[in-house]
């Protein structure tokens, strides 16, 4: 059995965690190139859409929100993997968090960068995105501060800023160490990022205080961000959107998909970077239990949301409910239930089955299931508006599919580049600590 990481000699920990930064394997290059090609195809599709207009998408009256908004909500949800989970674990001082937090925080930053692109892609005339910003202009107009879409902008800007700082702060001591021995360009990069860190007690004290404060702040921001995303829908008096529980429902779903994304990333990192000693079955078990808990919570919210609609039997709401559960969108709905509840419940609920492989399978199911959940929330409501004559359907075109695929590739590529530039586990947090005084 591998020894617990805290008991490993410091030199070994440092070597293990810094080693992946200096080696570039063929597989790594191949994977990065593949991700780049898919990402470039997505960019080409977007360029095509910019040239030809929004008509090349499947969006048409009355379904004006399709894949792009589904992707937006999905990626913002995935972003809850990091900062929120890391902040909760840091504040509760969970010792097992150490190898998990940085991987999670990096997911947040990249997912937010990707998710934040979608409102711009969805604008159509992406070059006019700056009209969202409040600046003195020749038309003497200000943005509509009452609009939930502007709430979204401010929430995401705050969350991105906070998440980047939250990722960067604990990175400083590690990059200071990396600056000591490295190739010239890396040394320059790490020196610039370390800001002249020397490891003095003033720096450590300030860092620890800042991390604690940031953890508290970021928790409040993370919850608000997904609540605001939920309010984009709930503030509209549309069937099955205008719901008071949408805020917590979305937050729970975001944490759920976030944990799943984190488990997938951890599983890949463990395998690819040979971090078996650091990312142990213990971590997967703990996160697996958390995933199971969130699966049950998700089921509870889904039941509450759908049961009240069904019991109320309001015709407009029932039209959407029927489309979701019995008609056109029923396959997506029921696959979503299987992926988000049935499979995780079996794989994580039975102790004997709670292995690393099964936890990863459950996590993949949840990520796919949560994407479907976003689709099932967004599209059927728009396809069945209050005017029955306006009812329509939605099918994505190759442009939307290519851009969606590109976001997954972009996530993989950004993560692979990050893992080659920075240690994916905070080295300084892993040192064998002497017993603390009372």
């Amino acid at each position: 059995m591998a020894p617990a990481p805290e008991l490993l000699p410091y030199q070994r920990i440092r070597e293990d965690l810094f080693r992946p930064l200096s080696r570039v394997s063929r597989r790594y290059v191949l994977a990065t190139v593949c991700a780049f090609v898919v990402g470039a195809a997505g960019l080409a599709a977007w360029a095509y859409q910019l040239r030809r207009g929004m008509g090349v998408t499947g969006l048409q009256r009355p379904v004006f929100w399709g894949f792009y908004i589904v992707d937006f909500v999905f990626w913002i949800g995935i972003s809850h993997a990091g900062t929120l989970i890391s902040a909760i674990l840091r504040l509760t001082d969970a010792a097992w968090r150490k190898p998990v937090t940085r991987a999670a925080e990096a997911i947040t930053v990249f997912a937010l960068m990707i998710g934040g692109m979608f409102p711009i892609i969805h604008l159509g005339r992406a070059w006019l995105f700056f009209w969202l910003l409040p600046y003195p202009n020749s038309r003497l107009l200000w943005p509509n501060f009452r609009s939930p879409l502007l709430w979204d902008l401010t929430a995401i800007v705050t969350y991105v800023t906070g998440s980047i700082i939250y990722l960067y702060l604990p990175l400083i001591p590690d990059v200071a160490q990396l600056a000591e021995h490295n190739t010239p360009w890396r040394r320059k990069l790490y020196r610039a990022l370390s800001l002249g860190w020397t490891g003095s007690d003033r720096e450590w004290h300030a860092l620890e205080r800042a991390m604690k404060l940031m953890a508290c702040i970021i928790l409040a921001v993370a919850v608000s961000v997904h609540t605001v995303v939920a309010w984009d829908f709930a503030m509209a008096v549309a069937p099955m959107w205008h719901s008071t529980i949408f805020g917590p429902y979305f937050v729970a779903g975001a944490i759920f998909s976030g944990i799943a994304a984190l488990l997938i990333v951890m599983s890949l990192l463990r395998k690819v970077l040979h971090l078996e000693t650091y990312l142990t079955p213990h971590h997967f078990r703990n996160l697996g239990k958390l995933l199971l808990l969130m699966s049950l919570l998700w089921l509870y919210f889904t039941m509450s949301e759908n049961l009240t609609v069904w019991y109320g039997n309001e015709p407009k709401e029932m039209a959407v409910f029927g489309a979701r559960t019995r008609a056109q969108y029923a396959p997506y709905f029921w696959i979503m239930v299987v992926l988000n509840f049935v499979i995780p419940f079996v794989l994580l609920g039975i102790r004997r089955l709670r292995t690393i492989a099964n936890t990863t399978i459950a996590a993949v199911c949840v990520v796919v299931g949560m994407w479907l959940e976003r689709f099932v929330i967004v599209v059927p409501t728009l396809a069945n508006p209050r005017l029955p004559a306006a009812a329509s359907s939605y099918a994505p075109t190759w442009v939307e599919i290519a851009i969606t695929a590109a976001t997954f590739a972009a996530m993989a590529m950004l993560y692979m580049i990050f893992a080659k530039l920075f240690p994916i586990i905070a080295v300084w947090e892993f040192k064998p600590h002497p017993p603390e005084d009372e």
Binding site: N144, V157, P173, K431, H433
Partner: protein
């Protein structure tokens, strides 16, 4: 003049700090270098912090600025609201909240840079010891005449190595 002592145990470093402070060294003269955070018992080398206060102040400042800006913008370009108030805190409260939190984030980060000394002009000539993993280096700034006393205090406390360096 700087005197640097290397310790392998936190308790010995704490004893050296106590002796040096009793001899007249202030907390500003002392620096402890390590590759991981080291917590000394209360009263040994306390570093009072205003980070929480600055964070709250930043939050309040950004929150007020955001509210003020929205209020002004709504009145600068009046839209027809059908008799409803031009400025409604219910409708813009989310933006105020997010900007308040952004203020807390920015202020915390800025104060971290200031308090840690990373963004402050510092004495570039002050020697920074190379710290071995698991070791603690104590650096004290003193007058040339006091360096022998400081070095002796460190040695008596259990330093494994002591050296004197000119600034």
């Amino acid at each position: 003049m700087y005197v640097i002592g290397e310790f392998h145990e936190k308790e010995r470093a704490a004893a050296a700090i106590r002796t040096l402070r009793a001899g007249g060294a202030t907390a500003a003269d002392l620096d402890v270098f390590s590759e991981e955070p080291v917590e000394f018992p209360r009263g040994v080398l306390d570093r009072p912090s205003r980070m929480s206060l600055i964070s709250v102040s930043g939050a309040i400042a950004f929150g007020l600025l955001a509210t003020g800006f929205i209020y002004w913008a709504q009145h600068d370009y009046r839209v027809a609201t059908g008799g409803m108030p031009l400025f409604s805190f219910w409708a813009t409260g989310v933006i105020t909240y997010e900007m308040t939190m952004l203020g807390a984030i920015v202020a915390t980060f800025a104060w971290f840079l200031w308090e840690s000394g990373l963004a402050r002009p510092r004495d570039r000539s002050a020697p920074v010891p190379m710290v071995d993993p698991g070791s603690i280096c104590l650096r004290v700034r003193c007058r040339a005449g006091q360096s022998a006393h400081a070095a002796e205090a460190m040695q008596r406390a259990g330093a494994t190595g002591v050296e004197r360096r000119e600034s």
